[in-house]
């Protein structure tokens, strides 16, 4: 996972979370910033090998909670990105199968089963 280093912040009241560029990509950070918008806005900057994320709270509250929230979201986004990358080909395949005209039975003109509550499988229209 990401190497995360907390810095108390140079400026007073600044909440900063740092991510190693080698293990977290910008897309994950941007998606995370989008997702936590109800609680904070996030400024993302590149500094050397690190992404420095400064968190600005929307409401008053514990700084720790904000960092937790953002880090948890980043972890989730990284997981999502990994799932998406691995499953993209199968996802496309399922869509292709779902909307193809030829049936799963290769014999020409066969009707498709419909996986729903009917006594007989539905016909393709």
């Amino acid at each position: 996972m990401s190497a995360v280093e907390d810095v108390s912040g140079a400026g007073a009241g600044e909440i900063i979370v740092i991510f190693d560029q080698a293990t977290v990509d910008l897309d994950a950070l941007q998606r995370s910033a989008y997702a936590v918008a109800a609680d904070m806005t996030v400024d993302i900057r590149l500094r050397g090998m690190d992404y420095v994320c400064t968190l600005f709270a929307c409401h008053s509250g514990a700084d720790d909670k904000l960092k937790h929230r953002f880090r948890a979201e980043v972890n989730d986004q990284i997981l999502r990105a990994r799932i998406a990358k691995e499953t993209e080909p199968l996802r496309n395949l399922v869509f292709a199968l779902a909307f193809s005209q030829t049936g799963l039975v290769s014999a020409g003109g066969a009707d498709e089963p419909g996986a729903e509550d009917v006594a007989a499988p539905e016909a393709e229209t």
């Binding site: 039975v105 290769s106 014999a107 009707d111 089963p113 996986a115 509550d117 009917v118 006594a119 499988p121």
Partner: protein
């Protein structure tokens, strides 16, 4: 419980009987109708012209043809029943019992699965004569014959023979309601499924076992890798050609924990099936040596069974419970219980004499011997 086979004595057998499959008939039925064996009532003089006569007690006056004396075990044979007669006339086996609720024809003992609890263990030998015999039986079915099961082993292993048999059925007995038992794997071949559907039988259902909602457990239970994949593909192919499918689930120790998951899987993926049959174990065949692996007492799985039935029925799927005694079944499930054990192998225990619901209950498998639930008792 009926005995279906027994030794017999003969009179007037000058040479071996030419045909092996006969239908018993009453005197007066046209002898020209084929291989009819006349069942002669006591004291009557039978007319000549039959190829074979069946009597229940020895008689002094000679009969006009070869005769078989049925012993007390086979005295239940009636007009309309179809029997197999050994060439020397010394053994008779009932293949079709006209008065029975269920009749089945064994088509082969070969199988490409090897289920842990198989009640008809596979034998790998050429038994193609079973198909020939089945064909003969179908040709001789009496006028009122309504339904027939075709069983095995795995009947689809001999694809041409099976298709041919179905075509024969369609020709000579088109109003017959057929129930074909199969592991479904052959139907993964679209061409075979197409041939099966093309026979055009109006009333035929394929009964296909599915034991788990995923390959890991199912393949283990049927002892064949890749079986689940082929079986489900087979079900889908059948459904896409409008063919009726029943899913059969034998409830045993391994299938119990997956029962609710399986019901969910069927309701979501295969909701078009005509019926789901949840079946109690018959402790015979492979189930005996494997009994430690497979035995499950029904009282221990009622919670899962109730939930599985709820899932299936709420989804609109016709659901039946077979081979369960009412006393070990949750009361809410009684409406789904069917008296399903074949007449010739069902029985009741002594304690059942005082049971108030005995007549509605299917009893136990005689073939299970004493491998029964510990909790059978009369219902007050």
């Amino acid at each position: 419980m009926l005995k279906l086979t027994g030794r017999t004595e003969t009179t007037g057998f000058a040479s071996p009987v030419t045909d092996d499959v006969w239908r018993a008939c009453a005197p007066g039925e046209s002898a020209a109708a084929g291989t009819l064996a006349c069942l002669v009532p006591a004291g009557e003089r039978p007319t000549a012209g039959y190829g074979l006569y069946l009597i229940r007690e020895a008689r002094a006056p000679a009969l006009p043809g070869p005769a078989i004396l049925l012993g007390p075990d086979l005295a239940h044979i009636e007009s309309g029943d179809i029997i197999h007669v050994a060439a020397d006339g010394r053994r008779v086996t009932v293949l079709w019992k006209n008065s029975a609720l269920h009749n089945g024809l064994l088509l082969t003992e070969q199988c490409d699965n090897y289920c842990l609890m198989c009640s008809q263990p596979p034998k790998d030998r050429d038994d193609s004569w079973l198909f020939h015999r089945a064909r003969r039986v179908i040709s001789l079915l009496p006028e009122g014959a309504r339904s027939l099961s075709l069983t095995g082993g795995e009947p689809t292993l001999r694809a041409d023979a099976l298709i041919g048999l179905l075509e024969h059925c369609q020709q000579v007995a088109p109003r017959l309601s057929l129930h074909l038992l199969s592991n479904g794997r052959r139907f993964a071949d679209p061409e075979f499924t197409r041939r099966y559907a093309a026979v055009g039988i109006a009333d035929i259902m394929v009964g296909i076992p599915v034991y788990a909602p995923e390959p890991g457990l199912h393949d283990f239970i049927v002892q064949a890798l890749g079986a689940f994949d082929e079986t489900i593909h087979g079900i889908l192919n059948l459904a896409s050609l409008g063919q009726s499918v029943e899913i059969r689930v034998v409830i045993q120790r391994h299938t119990v924990p997956a029962l609710v998951g399986l019901a969910t899987f069927i309701a979501r993926n295969l909701p078009f099936v005509g019926q789901v049959a949840l079946m109690g174990l018959e402790m015979t065949g492979l189930a005996r040596p494997n009994s430690a692996l497979v035995w499950a007492d029904p009282v221990d799985y009622q919670r899962e069974l109730v939930e599985a039935v709820d899932i299936l029925t709420t989804a609109g799927i016709s659901t039946r419970i077979y081979n369960h005694q009412l006393c070990v079944l949750d009361r809410t499930l009684w409406p789904y219980a069917v008296r399903s054990i074949s007449d010739w192998k069902n029985d009741y225990l002594e304690i059942c004499q005082s049971c108030s619901v005995r007549d509605a209950c299917g009893g136990v498998f005689t073939t299970s011997g004493n491998r029964l639930s510990q909790h059978l008792r009369p219902v007050r």
